[in-house]
């Protein structure tokens, strides 16, 4: 199968086959990052613009490294240096960038739907690097990549996603992605952090972490989105962590080969204990490594590369 999309805006509109194509392509790119000379000429002469309207370290560096290892030229623009403060609309800012003929615009924005808006005015490929509480497709792809790497296959997996589901684009993208496979997803949080009607997305809901982790192959912890008002939905971080912090004792109820995932940045002692974060089941750093390969695949396919 071939990649026929101009943009990667979200996981929801992708087919299972498209997701597998992305993962398989990422597989072939991972080896590049393990060479002495970590560079291939695949995207030589291509320009990738990183348009970040919201703070990000990990995602931005990951995209930049991915682009550079493919020999693309990259330019990074952050909100503090952009013209957003001068009253220019997002569309006008994008049109200006387009005039410089980039091939890909990677956008991170604090408002849901901003990448959709850009894609409607840009001829270049738009890649969503996270928009508000909507989607973070490359994160879900690297999560699936990591699950498949550790568990061989995605079908049959039982996954718990624990934390601030309501404000999490990572949760949404993972729910959409896992929904394309024969998986069972359980979301766990206090009700104030679960959007009403969540079951309509085909997931189970648990309120207690002990119940959520039981029998799971994968446990994905999310942080509290303080910047999205996350702390107004719980009485205190202390109480939240006493109820929802993943500790070693919880893992006894999960499958014996459970993997612990986290999109980062982790808040030690809040949603995950040191012992679990640094323990043998944690694949948090594998996720980060795989993120580069997945983003290389996304940039490659978006610019017309063959799967």
């Amino acid at each position: 199968m071939n990649w026929s999309r101009k943009d990667l805006l979200g996981i929801r509109e992708l087919s299972r086959e498209e997701i597998l194509l992305l993962l398989d392509t990422a597989d072939s790119f991972r080896e590049v990052s393990r060479r002495d000379i970590k560079k291939v000429p695949t995207l030589r002469g291509k320009t990738v613009i990183m348009l970040f309207y919201e703070a990000s370290t990990r995602t931005r560096v990951s995209f930049e490294i991915a682009a550079k290892r493919l020999s693309a030229d990259t330019v990074s623009i952050s909100a503090s240096t952009s013209s957003a403060v001068k009253g220019e609309t997002l569309k006008d800012a994008a049109r200006n960038l387009e005039s410089m003929r980039p091939d890909v615009v990677v956008i991170r924005h604090n408002m849901a739907g901003a990448p959709q808006m850009l894609s409607s005015v840009l001829d270049s490929s738009v890649v969503n690097a996270g928009d508000g509480a909507h989607e973070h497709p490359t994160q879900a792809l690297l999560d699936l990549f990591t699950m498949r790497e550790k568990k061989e296959t995605l079908d049959g997996l039982r996954v718990a996603i624990i934390g601030d589901i309501a404000h999490s684009r990572v949760a949404r993208s993972n729910i959409f992605a896992l929904g394309k496979f024969d998986t069972e997803v359980t979301c766990c949080a206090p009700p104030t952090m679960l959007p009403p009607g969540l079951e309509k997305l085909g997931v189970r809901v648990a309120y207690r972490i002990e119940e959520a982790v039981a029998g799971k192959d994968v446990i994905m912890m999310l942080r509290i989105q303080k910047e999205r008002g996350g702390t107004t939905f719980i009485p205190s971080i202390k109480e939240y962590s006493s109820l929802y912090c993943l500790k070693e004792a919880h893992l006894e109820k999960a499958k014996s080969d459970v993997i612990i995932m986290h999109p980062g940045p982790i808040n030690r002692g809040v949603e995950i204990s040191d012992q679990v974060a640094d323990g043998p089941y944690s694949v948090i750093l594998n996720q980060v490594e795989n993120g580069v390969a997945v983003r290389m695949a996304v940039l490659y396919l978006s610019t017309g590369g063959e799967g």
């Binding site: 408002m111 508000g132 969540l198």
Partner: protein, 422 residues
């Protein structure tokens, strides 16, 4: 003399629905009878296959003047109203300056007289500057010509002030048009199955219901009249249904978009679907239709909220709220008739006599001796919405490209043809 012949005349105020002719003499309706003929007719309108009805009355329009003339003016807004079949519109107070004193009321009326195409009735603010702090000068504004008071766009947060303001409005017989929203909730779409997917910040329907229940309770306590505008949720319909069982109940209206679209429409982040209150679930839409059918909802208003292009050409969460509605309201409302929710008389009563009663206006009825405010429309003509062809400056509509059935063809205000496609 203008003669309208061979039409089906429907006047909900007199329960008339028959094939009769109507003769206009000067500014008033002279005769309604079979086979009127005569000499000295300036114009004969052949309404064969068409419906002759009282001119529509919109209790909720934003004309944007003074202060936001780039979004709409009294001239363009009333031209859009005339095309849509409205012969009277109530314009909301959230202009700049706010219509919270008689000078602004007088300015609007002066402009309406010189540039307006249809009748304009200003709505005064409840509180000065819509700030929710001090009661506006309702008495002087009443004298100048306001027909109601409203802080529309926002609720009056302070319940004690709201109570005092309604008590004061009662002194002048002014109904309070209540925008029901509990501002302690924040969000840009309805909290439901669409927001679950879009990730847009969502408001639960109880925001509207809390405010509607408060406003109704306050109005009943002080003996004022509350009119709950743009109701959109099943819960508010339920509150209003209970209210209707009491003596001297509050009244309410909804808008075409609340019985035409659901929150699903927001999934593509089209900012033309951003409206306040937000588009709701299918269950809410069904409840609104049932409320219209059983008489719980008295009036259909437009909440015509024109905006300039840039106000909508931004991220969804930053876009202005509102739909430019005057030119699509009749056709969208006629779909209720096509679907069998309402018959034509029931629909027209919600757009003519009921709003006239709420505001104490001598319009909205086809009776000899009354002002000749009327329309001739087709309930079957199909047309495609083209926002580029709107007479309103506001091109912000989620219905662009929609194929609609039913179209206004002639609008007559005070015996004068102000719009005609015939």
């Amino acid at each position: 003399l203008i003669l309208i012949k061979n039409g089906r005349l429907i006047d909900p105020s007199s329960s008339r629905d028959e094939m009769v002719d109507l003769l206009i003499d000067g500014e008033t309706i002279a005769r309604i009878d079979r086979n009127i003929s005569g000499a000295g007719l300036e114009r004969v309108i052949d309404a064969t296959g068409l419906i002759v009805a009282p001119g529509l009355i919109d209790v909720h329009t934003h004309l944007r003047e003074p202060g936001y003339e780039w979004k709409e003016t009294i001239a363009t807004g009333t031209a859009a109203a005339a095309r849509g079949g409205f012969t009277s519109v109530v314009c909301m107070a959230n202009t700049d300056p706010v219509n919270d004193n008689k000078s602004v009321t007088e300015y609007i009326l002066k402009k309406a007289r010189s540039e307006g195409v249809v009748r304009v009735f200003p709505c005064g603010a409840i509180t000065k500057g819509l700030k929710g702090e001090d009661i506006a000068e309702m008495g002087e504004m009443r004298e100048a010509g306001i027909v109601a008071v409203s802080d529309d766009g926002r609720p009056v947060r302070n319940s004690q002030l709201f109570l005092k303001a309604l008590e004061y409005a009662r002194l002048f017989g002014l109904p309070a048009i209540c925008h029901c929203e509990d501002e302690s909730f924040s969000g840009v779409v309805h909290e439901g199955s669409a927001s679950l997917i879009s990730g847009l910040e969502a408001v639960p329907p109880v925001s509207e219901e809390i405010a509607a229940a408060r406003d109704i309770a306050v109005a009943r306590y002080v003996g004022a009249h509350a009119h709950i505008t743009h109701i959109s949720t099943a819960g508010t319909v339920e509150i209003m249904r209970a209210e209707k069982r009491k003596p001297a109940p509050a009244t309410c209206d909804t808008c075409p978009h609340y019985f035409t679209l659901t929150d699903e429409a927001t999934l593509g982040y089209d900012t033309n679907t951003r409206v306040n209150p937000p588009l709701r679930s299918q269950a809410d839409v069904d409840a609104i239709k049932e409320g219209l059918r059983d008489g719980t909802i008295d009036i259909i208003a437009t909440d015509h909220a024109p905006h300039d292009f840039v106000s909508k050409d931004v991220e969804f969460a930053m876009a202005s709220s509102g739909i430019s509605g005057l030119e699509t309201a009749l056709a969208l409302s006629l779909s209720l008739v096509h679907e069998g929710v309402l018959d034509l008389t029931a629909l027209l009563s919600k757009m003519t006599v009921n709003p006239a009663r709420l505001l104490g206006l001598p319009y909205g009825a086809l009776v000899p001796g009354k002002p000749a405010d009327l329309i001739v429309f087709s309930d079957s003509a199909e047309w495609t919405v083209d926002r580029g062809a709107f007479l309103s400056k506001g091109r912000n509509t989620p219905f662009h490209g929609w194929r609609l059935k039913g179209r206004n063809l002639v609008t007559i205000v005070g015996g004068k043809i102000v719009y005609s496609e015939l």
